[in-house]
Amino acid sequence: MLINKRLILAHFWLAFAVFGVALVLGAWQMFVRSPLNAWHFNPELYYRSVTAHGSIMGYVFPTLVAMGFGYAITESALEKPLIGRRWAWAGFWLVAVGAVVAMVPVSLGWASVLYTFYPPMVGNPLYYIGVVLVVVGSWIWVALMSINLAAWKRDNPDKPVPLAMFANVAGSYLWGWTAVGAALEIIFQILPVALGLRSTIDAGLARVFFSWTLHAIVYFWLIPTYIAYYSIFPRAIGGRLYSDAMARISFILFVVVAMPIGVHHLFTDPQVGAGFKFMHSVFTGLVALPTLLTVFTICASAEIASRLRGGRGAFGWVSALPWQNPIMLATAFSLVMLGFGGAGGLINMSYQLDASIHNTQWITGHFHLIFGGAIVIMYFAIAYDLWPHLTGRALESFGLMRTQLWLWFIGMIVTTFPWHYVGILGMPRRMAFYDYSNAAVSPQAFSVTMSAVGGFILLISGVLFLTVLIRGQWAASSEAGAYRFSVPLHMPARIPAALNSFGLWLALMIGLTVVNYGYPIAQLMVLKETNVPAVYVGAGR
């Protein structure tokens, strides 16, 4: 039962509105640094745009989706109104105000530091304060998820926690802990410099703190997608979830091993020892495990649905799936993109192979394929699935939805595959300008052009997505009934305490963080010679 519909809708609408803005910026960036653009503008504008695009897509958009979806899950899975409605609104407004506070200095060119901050570059303090507000707003959500779960468990001591809620709380705990790294970096390192209280900064330590956040944040973005795989997809295609326990184990594995792996972003950084890089590489490899479990379980669930519909044969059942259903289409596209993205990720996580693609366009291609592709396409699916229950009006433009999903899939492939390719050719990332007339660069011109075309396809798809939702707001009223999640093939009557609570897994998560991050952080904090002068960013005369 969804009660606080306005709260949930506010999160989703704000999320998709800022997503639309960031999408336009992204397409513009693809265009200006491609051979399609005859160069005639200030490259600083490019970095301004990249900072805004990254901050919105990385911090604001997925956080709002996770929060809104989290509230929807709490009310519909636990079948009771959300506890802490006022706090939830406060969290929403903190995120909204934080986003504006952060984007004003970025728009003015006072904080073109990119969303990853990159100290010793230091921009206007308001940018960092805005990001902190967004994070604090999301921490309210983390606390509310925990409180609501505890209250439900107290009232229902003998029932297993519904899978969707279990996964949702797992995601919130993961985010609560992983955001600590960037929060420490901003509050104790960057803000004092940005406010003029200090003029030097330990850039190496800052990068280690950021890596604490930067990799696990991807799994925080991913969790709503995985929840949709497990608890929306089997129901939407008329089947059952293959295994409830497998799903819980996947989310638990994310909580435990998604955290102590971030140093694989620092493979070429000198301030972390090679031994710790190896340890992080090992745990990065382990993160493939929950994804492989998920792919197996979801494919098995699809097979169950297909056989219920009369699908036959070892592979023939695939054609009997309801391909007209947008959720079916989105999930299939998502898994394909996850497969390619994951395969590319194996290169990034290997200390040796990474050297050939580090800091090239390969990396940009990789995270756009995983986040923009596999993850965001399921955000669309979540919105399509949830919208009628939130608005009380049916979404009827199924043809438009399918076109939108196809365009997003094609656009993402056309954008990211050439992007990976030019990365292998050695094209560096984070650059506003490439001299395509140069003989060494000209072979990359075609691929970059193709990539830009993909960007435009994504833009069209984004417009269609918003069109579907806006049309839905004006459709005729229709009662969608209670919002339900997938039912597992075998409903467990009793499940082990380990699969129904988080204490053990949070202890392992924090323990592994201490093992893998403790020494590198302690060493850099003790060493005084590691500070460097800050480089203030912002045009000035």
């Binding site: 090679a274 499940i495 323990g511 592994l512 000035g540």
Partner: protein, 263 residues
């Protein structure tokens, strides 16, 4: 729910998950901190403890014996972006008096048509560094060196503060309509030339980079050629020499005239 206690070694979920995690963490640590470093003969490690320290990233003082020393005097000024940005009024006043002797070439208001640098409004850190380099011999000039050798450190700070305090005045050559050459806005990435504007203003201003707007074209050209030929070498870490060597004569001409026409 299951009534079995979770945090107990008798609970298989607890013992297995903690056991597997510990085993993986220990194996990864042993491999990363001991086995892999010892497997690399190039590291020349003396034992297990040495291997652990090396792989954990414990810093070691490197030997200075093999380092190459320049056979000429290099600049000893350490630049930071905050350097000399808040001069005192006393310092500016003293600088104004000291600057009397500079006026014949640099103009009574820090601007002249003598093709010497226009110092009015120049960043204090820049003027100070050049004076200091003339004094130490890192930069040599028949006219400036004799002036600088007799200045105290405080004199140089004061003169620099005074010139940074003076307003930049529009020059006779100002022409804001001249389009910025490509080398100024985008540089030449394939020749490893960053855009001039990314350090010298317009796009961004970096510590130690002079403001070039309104400088004499003759002076800018002469300095770029001096950097390219190596007759001037007081730029820290060869920043300008590496750029000037890669610039064509035509580009040098373009930037000189562009910056001369800027305010």
């Amino acid at each position: 729910m299951s009534d079995q206690k979770l945090f107990s070694l008798r609970n298989p979920w607890f013992s297995t998950s903690v056991g597997v995690t510990v085993v993986i963490a220990v194996l990864a640590t042993l491999a990363g901190l001991i086995w892999l470093p010892l497997a690399q003969p190039d590291l020349k490690l003396s034992g297990i403890w040495d291997a652990i320290c090396s792989a954990a990233g414990v810093p070691r003082a490197s030997s200075q014996a093999g380092s190459v020393q320049a056979d000429f005097k290099t600049s000893d000024v350490v630049m930071t972006s905050e350097m000399l940005t808040r001069p005192s009024q006393v310092s500016i006043g003293r600088g104004a008096t000291l600057a009397q002797r500079c006026a014949i070439c640099h103009g009574p208001q820090g601007v002249s048509d003598a093709n010497s640098p226009n110092l009015a409004g120049q960043f204090a850190a820049v003027t100070y560094k050049e004076l200091n380099d003339f004094k130490t011999g890192a930069r040599v000039n028949v006219i400036m060196t004799p002036f600088a050798v007799n200045m105290t450190n405080q004199d140089m700070l004061d003169v620099a503060a005074y010139y940074s305090y003076l307003p930049r005045v529009p020059r006779s050559h100002a022409d804001a309509k001249i389009p910025a050459p490509l080398i100024v806005t985008t540089g030449a990435p394939m020749r490893n030339i960053a855009p001039c504007g990314s350090c010298h203003g317009d796009i961004d201003t970096k510590a130690g980079s002079p403001w070039l707007g309104g400088q004499s074209a003759v002076y800018i050209k002469a300095q770029l050629h001096a950097f390219a030929s190596g007759t001037r070498r007081n730029d820290i870490s060869q920043q300008m020499r590496n750029i000037a060597r890669q610039m064509t004569a035509e580009e040098i001409d373009q930037v000189a005239h562009y910056y001369e026409a800027q305010p």
